[in-house]
């Protein structure tokens, strides 16, 4: 798994490539924490993530809380159907805005 952070004006895009499991979640967490430290508007691009375990959900929870504490906003992009099912079963889905592409995420964040 690889995580890339890119700043677009006042938005940080977190792009994840690869599976998020208990081996890779610590790196996802470090990068996501760095992103929420840099900006209160975050887009997380999961287009290239096929698998995410509960270790990834824990990172999303941390992001949600950090962003909420700053009155910011987080948008998830490209979340696979399988991962959306897991987010739905665990009740996570109600607390995130999910869109198809990073482009859509950016336009929502720019307006917020």
């Amino acid at each position: 798994m690889k995580v890339t952070l890119t700043d677009q004006e006042d938005i940080t895009v977190v792009e994840v490539v690869g599976d998020i499991d208990s081996k890779t979640a610590p790196e996802f967490e470090r990068s996501a924490r760095q992103a929420t430290d840099q900006n209160e508007k975050i887009a997380i691009d999961l287009t290239a993530v096929e698998f995410m375990s509960s270790a990834g959900l824990r990172v999303l929870l941390m992001v949600y809380r950090n962003i909420k504490a700053q009155n910011g906003k987080v948008v998830l992009a490209g979340v696979s159907e399988d991962i959306q099912d897991v987010m739905s079963t665990t009740g996570f889905i109600n607390f995130f805005t999910i869109v198809g592409t990073t482009g859509e995420a950016l336009s929502i964040l720019k307006q917020s």
Binding site: S22, K23, S53, D82
Partner: protein, 142 residues
């Protein structure tokens, strides 16, 4: 007939474990959704074995995947030699817990919840010095 494959009890094994479970699911003809649920369940239980059964206890060991495909079901058993640990001993998050806001909820127990929720049958037993976590997926159309 049972097939067995062993993996070192380290997090580097999770990726090859998921690939292997995916192969077994393909052989059994499971749907895409059931395949993902089974892979997730095996990953969650293997994670507990690796991080808590072995690493936290300072143990080194392998874990094994025993599997059997019949006309009606794919059965997978994860076996490890860590101390007895019943993943079902702890109360699972309730509907109410899962509906709770992310601001106030406890994060524990999600992995086991996803496991139990994602497979048709899940059980645990400890016998002959081994934990045996068993997953059953029924095969559609049977």
């Amino acid at each position: 007939m049972m097939e067995t494959k062993s993996f070192p009890g380290v997090v580097d094994s999770l990726d090859p474990l998921r690939d292997y479970i995916g192969e077994l699911a393909a052989r059994a003809g499971l749907s895409k959704k059931k395949t993902y649920s089974l892979i997730l369940a095996a990953d969650e239980i293997a994670t507990n074995i690796i991080l808590y059964g072995y690493e936290r206890a300072g143990l080194t060991g392998d874990f094994s995947v025993l599997s059997e495909v019949t006309d009606s079901a794919l059965t997978i058993i994860l076996e490890d030699i860590a101390e007895a640990f019943d993943p079902l001993a702890r109360e699972l998050p309730s509907e109410e817990d899962l509906a709770r806001s992310l601001d106030e909820r406890e994060i524990g127990g999600l992995g086991i919840f996803l496991t139990v929720n994602g497979v048709d049958e899940f059980s645990w037993e400890y016998a002959d010095g081994r934990n045996r976590n068993k997953f059953v997926m029924k095969i559609e159309g049977s």
